[in-house]
Symmetry: C2
Subunit: 111 residues, 2 copies
DNA sequence: CGTATCGCTACAATAAATGTAGCAGTGAGA
DNA sequence: TCTCACTGCTACATTTATTGTAGCGATACG
């Protein structure tokens, strides 16, 4: 994993600006990160069901993303599997307008 | 880039679900995509200044992302350089809560 | 012509992601 | 206890994505 950052803020990658938004944008701009948060929106999932939900993504990368998301405080591992923390749920909440936007976008793109 | 999708909705990658949110999540979950939209927030930038704003990312990938974003209808090339379309500005607007969240997150992470 | 910039591309090197297989640990049922 | 199904998680070779450097043709200014 090569990164033992205590809370994922210091140097998430390509975001040496110190601005949290950069770190967040960078963290979210990795494959499957957004998707994982999205798939966890309705409740916790254990690793294999999460894998299925994520289009059978490889466990390697899923595990890596899950670790990053846990270090960032967005995801936690409970008895029910992986679930969003309160903070993670807040993050997901910011996706809601994105969801509505996506619907609008698909209509636009289709025309 | 092996993809000539007319409007970026059909098969953005790993999103054969048909749900627009998946396509959007996938498109945004590529390196520099979120960042580009973010950097264009205050106005158009020509390619090299955009490169500088994006931490000197390689022109190869920037060009690729720019093409994708243009096909998706989020970015356009004008006399002033690359700029967000009205649709792109709508997309950026959904990031605003994300920005506020990032600030809160950084405080959380720091503790 | 020389020298800028523009958008954009080629290409080799490196890093990230994929796909398949399998580990150790836990708990249930026979 | 043995087996079976599940949990989270990892190894490893292959493929794909990204990086970094260099440079293209076109346009504009002197």
């Amino acid at each position: 994993m090569a990164k033992q950052a205590p809370a994922a803020k210091p140097g998430v990658r390509g975001s040496r600006s110190g601005r949290p938004i950069m770190a967040l944008l960078d963290l979210l701009g990795r494959r499957w990160t957004l998707r994982i948060i999205w798939e966890l929106r309705e409740g916790a999932l254990t690793s294999r069901p999460l894998r299925s939900a994520c289009d059978e993504a490889s466990p390697t990368i899923l595990q890596a993303r899950l670790t990053e998301l846990r270090e960032a405080g967005f995801v936690e591992l409970t008895d029910d599997g992986y679930g969003l923390t309160p903070l993670g749920r807040e993050l997901f909440a910011t996706f809601t307008p994105l969801h509505r936007f996506a619907e609008r976008w698909s209509k636009h793109a289709g025309s």
